[in-house]
Subunit: 128 residues, 6 copies
C-alpha cells in the first residue's frame, strides 16, 4: 500500500492546500490523489494551483472541460484518473448516455491513433 498522508499527520503547508481543496470543492476530505501527492508539499501546492487555473470557468463549459480531462486520462490508460474524473463528470451532470458516447470515442480514437502511427501516415497539407 503506497503512502497516503492524512490531514491529522500533515504539516502546515500540506494542511493549507488540503483546506483550499476542501473549501473549493465543498467536501469533507480530499481524494487519495492529494494525500499521495503530499509526500512533496511543493508539488502538491503547484499541482493544485495549476489544476485550479486550468479548470477555472472559461470559453469551454465546465462539464466539457471535465469530460476532456476524462478522455485524456482514459487515453493515457490511468485507471485512477479515469475513475476520479468519471465521478467528477457525473457530479457535473454527465448522463449515462453521454458517458457511453465518450467511451465509444475513446475506443475509436485508440484504434485510429494506433493505425495512423503504424502506417506512418503523413500529415495532410490541408490540416495546417
Amino acid at each position: 500500500m503506497p503512502r497516503l498522508i492524512d490531514y491529522v499527520e500533515a504539516g502546515p503547508e500540506v494542511r493549507a492546500v488540503f483546506d483550499e481543496i476542501k473549501a473549493a470543492r465543498g467536501v469533507a476530505d480530499v481524494n487519495n490523489f492529494w494525500k499521495a501527492l503530499a509526500v512533496d508539499p511543493a508539488t502538491l501546492r503547484r499541482t493544485w494551483e495549476s489544476l485550479r487555473q486550468v479548470m477555472a470557468p472559461g470559453a469551454l463549459d465546465p462539464l466539457v472541460k471535465e469530460m476532456l480531462y476524462l478522455a485524456a486520462s482514459m487515453a493515457a490508460g490511468c485507471a485512477y484518473c479515469s475513475a476520479s474524473h468519471a465521478a467528477a463528470a457525473r457530479a457535473k451532470g454527465m448522463t449515462d448516455v453521454q458517458y457511453g458516447e465518450l467511451l465509444a470515442i475513446i475506443g475509436m480514437a485508440a484504434e485510429t491513433n494506433r493505425l495512423a502511427e503504424a502506417l506512418r501516415v503523413p500529415v495532410d497539407a490541408a490540416f495546417d
Copy 2:
C-alpha cells in the same frame, strides 16, 4: 514514404468507401489516413462504418465529440490524429481560446495521470 492508395489506382471496394466518405463530408478527396488504410479494404470499410456510427449525432454536441476525439488523440501522442482532429474541430467551430483551454487540460491531465500512476494511488471508494 509509406504507401498511400489514390482513388485512380483503387479497386471497387476501396472506391466505394472513398465515395461514401467524400459524400458524407462534402470533400473532393479523402485524407491520407484513409488512403493508407486502403491497403486492407476490410479494415478500411469497418473503420469507416464504426467511425461514422461513433461520431453520429447523439447526446453530445458534435463539436464536443470532435474535441473529445482530439483530446484522446493528443493524450495518446498521435501526431497525425492530433493534426487531423484539430482541423476537424476548427471546421466545427472550435475557437482559438477553446483550443488553448483544451491544450491546457491535455497538459495537466498528462501530469496528474503520470503522478497518480507513479504513486500507485488507490481508487477512492466514493468514485464507484
Copy 3:
C-alpha cells in the same frame, strides 16, 4: 538529423558488431537503427546479442516471431520499428492479406485495451 555512425568512421568494437549483423543477415550494410545505437558500443553489442538470441529458431515459426515483433512495435507506436519489422516480415514471406489481418488486430487490440483499462475491468478468476 540525429547522429548515425557509418562503418568507415566506426571504431573496432562497433565494426565487429556491424560485421556480425551483415554476415548473419547477408546484407551489404546495417540499418540506421544500428548506426544510431553505435553511439554506445556496449549497448550496441548487448542489444544485437540479445536480439539474435530472442529471434533464433525455436518453438515459433520465424515469420510468426517477426510478426509478433511487428505487432508489439505497432502497439507501442514506434514508427521506425513498424517500418523495419514490416519490411523484415515481408522478406520472410508475409503476404499483403496477412499484413491486412495483422493491421486489423492491432487496431482492435488498441480499442479493447483502452476500454478495458478505462473501465478498470477486474481480471476473471478463470484466466489464471
Copy 4:
C-alpha cells in the same frame, strides 16, 4: 469496484450480445470485459461484431491471430487484456515454450522500440 452488468440485470440488447458471445465461444458466461462494456449497449454490440470479424478465420492461423492480439496487448501495457488473451492463446494450443518466446519478443521489442524513438532513427529508404 467498477460496474459489471450480469445477464440477469441486463436489458434485451445486452442479453442478445451476451447470447451471441456464449454461443460463438461455447461458454456458460461472458468475461468481465463484456459485462463492463455493457454500460453502453451500442459500444458492446459494435465491439463484439468488429472483434468477431477481425478474429474470423483468414490467411493467418487462429493461434497466430490470438498471439498477435496478446503481443499488442502486452506492448500496450493492458494487464486485463494480457491475462485474457494469454488464456485464449493457451486454449488454442499455445505451449509454455511458445509463451516464453513470445514474452522474450515483447521485452526485446520494448527495448528496441524505445531506443529507436529516443535516438530519432530515420526510416531507411529500403523499408518502403
Copy 5:
C-alpha cells in the same frame, strides 16, 4: 508545418515570457517548443513558471535533474523532448559515456517495465 509564433509577431504576454526565458538561459531566441506553446499565452506562462520552479537548484544536482527529465522524455517516446533535453544535458556537462549509460538504462527499463506489466507482477510487501 505546425504554427510557431516568433517574437516579432507575438503579443505582449508572450513576449514577456520569451524575454524571461532568454534572460534565464542567456540565449538569443527561445526553442520551438515555446514558440508552439505561445498559441495559448496562459499555458505558456504557467508552463514556464512551473518548469523554472521544478528545475531550480535543490537537493539534486542540476545535471542529474536534466538527465532525469531526459530519461522521462525518452521513456515517454517524445522525440522532440529527447532531443531538447539531450542537448540541455550536454550543455550542463553530460559526457558521451554518461549518455551511453543513460541510453542503456532507458532500454533496460523499457524491457523490464513491459514484462512486469505483461506478467502482472504483484508489488512486493517489502517495497512500501
Copy 6:
C-alpha cells in the same frame, strides 16, 4: 493471481539465476519480478545478465543510475517498477526531498512531452 515460481519449485536453471541475484544483492529471497520471469528460464537469465551489466559501476553514480531507472519506469506508467526502483533508490540513499524533486520532474516532463507531441513541434536545428 499471476504465476510466481518460488525457489523450492524451480528447476536448476532458474535456481542458478536466483542464487546469483541473492548473492549480488545480499538478500534472502528474490523479488516477485524474478519469480514471475522464471516462467521462461532463458528470458530470466538474459534479463538478469543484461540488468547487471547495465547497472554496473560506470561513469554515472549508482544512485543516479537507480533514479534514472525509476524516472523511466514512472514515465512508462509501470506501477510495479515504480515501487521496486523507488525502494532500491531509497536503499542507495535517496532522501525524501530528492524523491520529491524527482516526482516533480516526472510530472513536468509528462506535461511538456505531451504538449510537444500534440503541437508537433519541429526539432530545433541547434539540438543536433
